[in-house]
Symmetry: C2
Subunit: 195 residues, 2 copies
Amino acid sequence: MFDRLREHIRQRIPLTDEEFPSCTSLMVPKRIRKDAYLVQEGEHSKYLAFVTKGCLRSYTIDKKGEEHIVQFAVEGWWITDLYSFLSGKETEYFIDALEDSDVLLIDAPSYEKLCETVPKFERYFRILLQNNYIATHRRVVASISLSAEEQYLQLLQESPAIVQRVAQRHIASYLGITPEALSRIRNRIAKHQRS
Amino acid sequence: MFDRLREHIRQRIPLTDEEFPSCTSLMVPKRIRKDAYLVQEGEHSKYLAFVTKGCLRSYTIDKKGEEHIVQFAVEGWWITDLYSFLSGKETEYFIDALEDSDVLLIDAPSYEKLCETVPKFERYFRILLQNNYIATHRRVVASISLSAEEQYLQLLQESPAIVQRVAQRHIASYLGITPEALSRIRNRIAKHQRS
DNA sequence: CGCGGGTTTGATGATGCTCAAGCCCGGTGG
DNA sequence: CCACCGGGCTTGAGCATCATCAAACCCGCG
């Protein structure tokens, strides 16, 4: 059950067998069925979740009632609303499962405690945050410098697994365009490749 | 010279007088005149810079030759291309000064060493990264869910100091729109407030 | 077989881009 | 002190991209 997490950590920092339990003892496994929520808007995003199976997403709903997907998380990814998680404030996001999923949960006090008592885990999370920060920055750059079509092509190249795994309207939402627009973009790309 | 950094760190972690030098001894002050570069595309983004005075920006230039500003950094902010800094690969960004500025530089080996040898600094950077990750995420959400006008109003509310400090075309670039579009948006807002 | 969600297609409209010209203002040199 | 220059902001006209709304299509499933 913890194998995937173990592997994920080991790829980033050296970790002995004795150290791993200091992490796993603080984590609680949970099954989240398709369409079930991990957290909802207005709640405290109490847990940081590591996905061992399945696929979750976080999204907001704007004043017009439209969903906007902020993040996908498949096997080997962490997900939460970090702001709410760290501050204890109410989240503005929903996190739910797009497939039947299994996650490992750690709550904020345990997270802080783990970082404080075991420096190796503080390093692990620092490295994780570095990489997530870089990835999110790339997305900002894409959004201010690329057309919708170029952003889709970039996503297709960088995360083909995500694109073919989730519904097209979810990809559209993630890119900040309508399902109709994405459909036309794909159509254009297909035509272009044939000619 | 190091006062502002000292204060910045103290706001995030408890730090004694004896510990501070382990950081400052690794940092090199540098003056960067208006329009001078800290790094240019194709170089290794060798330093992580803490701004003690002035204002820097990072930006890309796309195939069409258009600039796209990724980040501003005024007093109390850190700036670099984190990907290049950590990986040693060539950066795709330019970082230059919008005003005569003073920065404190730390190179990647020193950064890694500082994190490894003084856990408190690893914690400081983890916290910094958490906050930057949250802020960048907010920007992604804005870009996929808000109109250009709404994004401008959000920026105006969250960073009024930046908006009135840098040229309008730079704000436009940061928002991913043209200077003309921003001009019209401001016009519309001004009219709206009068009526 | 028929229902229903998801995707596609079409027509129309809004938002922001492009190109071009004009305006404002601070700095420079005569 | 004034004329001129230049950069940055504004304004205008036409255009491209993407949104909206509506209808059709596709396909898996009850």
